[in-house]
Amino acid sequence: MSIDSKNADPVALVITPAGTEPSFASGLVWLVNPRLALGLIILAVMGLGSFLLPIFAPADPSIQATYMRNLPMSGAHWLGTNALGQDIFWFLVFAVRNSLQLGILVAVGVTIVATIVGLSAGYIGGTFERLVMLIVDTFITIPLLPILIILGALIRGNTSFFTVGVIIIIFGWAWDARTVRSMALSLREREFINMARFSGANTVDVLVREIFPYVSAYILVGFINTVLFAINTEATLAVIGLSKVEVPTLGSIIFWALSYNALFTGQYPWIVAPIVATVTLFLGLFLTSTGFNQAFAAKRGVS
């Protein structure tokens, strides 16, 4: 029995028993558990929605006074408009898209830096490793938010959304570097690595064929967690008004709602909609990352 991997939805994959013929889909069945499936569905809906819908947007939602102010929910404005004359629904769609974009950008940067630092520390060892780990531990220990507040105060207004991402990369790589390094340490001692060495594989071969498949699972989980961290950090800065608040993000929408006292004026959609969107997105990311973790652990037989 073979499954059409393109049309099968993740839930169906869970309940479909794996066939005897090793098709692509049955090769992936081990990967899917309910937690991962739910997480991926949430991410797919929110990801596709926020990246495709903006094509149909009637106007750029970040421009103020496009519509009448404080309109209630209606067919034309699904979530009404806010005190700045922006359509809340479209602002939210753009916010989810921008936040996801930033999250992915930062996660790519962090993964690259963390992998280089972690692997080199783990493999070179000695004084170099101790020095690197001292710096890593310092970056982990130093509370990030105060530093970001200072940076935000210094570059306020004169920065691009991209710079905010770069700053988050500079201060966010340490945790992942620590994980990668401990993986490198444990891999260095494994028999199968030595086996490959003795069989005549060169360093690149060992890295690509033996180590990467083993490490990729962790890197994927770390990647998703970093997306979560980056979105959260930018939103935190935006909520207190120190990011680029003109750009719609999950944080800036709450910044505007709070500074225009949406709670006092009873504009529930303005404040409730971003809360629901953020919680759903974060739950989706979290379920995906722990779901992958579970699946990989189950495959290795250590669940």
């Binding site: 001292l134 710096i135 531990d137 310092t138 982990i140 220990t141 130093i142 509370p143 990030l144 938010l145 105060p146 530093i147 507040i149 200072i150 940076l151 935000g152 105060a153 210094l154 570059i155 306020r156 004169n158 979560l228 959260n232 939103a235 935190t236 909520v239 207190i240 008004g241 120190l242 944080g251 709450i254 709070l258 709670l263 006092f264 404040i271 409730v272 809360i275 953020t278 919680v279 974060f282 739950l283 990311l285 979290f286 379920l287 722990t290």
Partner: protein, 333 residues
Amino acid sequence: MGVIAFVAKRFGLYLAVLFIGLTITFMLPRLMPINPVDGYIGQIQSRANGTLTPEAIEEMRANLEVLYGLKGDIFTQYLSYLKRVVIDFDFGPSFTYYPAEVSTMITTALPWTLGLLLTATIIAWLLGNMVGLVAGYFHKKRAASILEFVGILLYPIPYYIMAVTVLLLLAYIFPIFPLSPTFPVGEITWPKVGMIIYNSLLPAITLVLAGFGWNILSMKALAVATTEEPYVVYARLKGASNWTRMTRYVFRNALLPQVTALALSLGMIFNGALLTEIIFSYPGIGLIMRTAATGGDYNVLYGAITLSILAVATAGLVIDLIYPLLDPRIRHK
């Protein structure tokens, strides 16, 4: 490795963290294209309607540079910065509240932050670990997965969302708590203490809820793993009750990694506390930072961040030094 070597190594890390942290704080503003002195002069200029003469501005610039430690080459600045911060704990005057000393402003705010943060963290840690222990020990039962579900639901919610939601639910829809809190100043009397506690409950609830989920999840994972250990099976065969096994055998052993994890996540918890203070206008370090950031009051900002690094690093040190007392294996070596 003996206890002394352990303490020495940990203390070395502590000093290194402080040194690197202070250096970053020193370098950051100097790498920026913006000079705070220019900003101050601009502000004073606009208050004086541009009537200042160039000579007066020059003199003011020289005064401000001495006042804010910007005189001399970068190495001299760095040495005098370290001396001022480490030895004198002096950050100069505040710009917005001139001539108030930054160190006094910070020491007034510190007890507020510490009180809120310590209470909330301890409650969240204890509660989360207990729930996680039950969820992990009985992980084969259906009811336990509900407990874990609570953790999964709470954990990914960021602090700011938690704060706004708590505010929305408990101050607006169910008006149990005040929407904008009032904190009395001056001498502390008993009625004032009650008022402070009442007004601090919302930020405290936020911090507890936000810290709770993570503790449940990580304690649950640890407890599941520990329950499978041979010594727990042995205890069961020996006839130890469920309660004894859960508390004396599983909890004692699963607790240790949790202590280390707490030390490592202190920075994150501290970030959350700062943010919560800002959203609830709670008069701690976070609010001071927020006000200073908006007003361009850099001395206050540097004072607050230096203190933050010091506080988080010291708390981590204390937790790590308590660790051997909890782990007999290290203690007896």
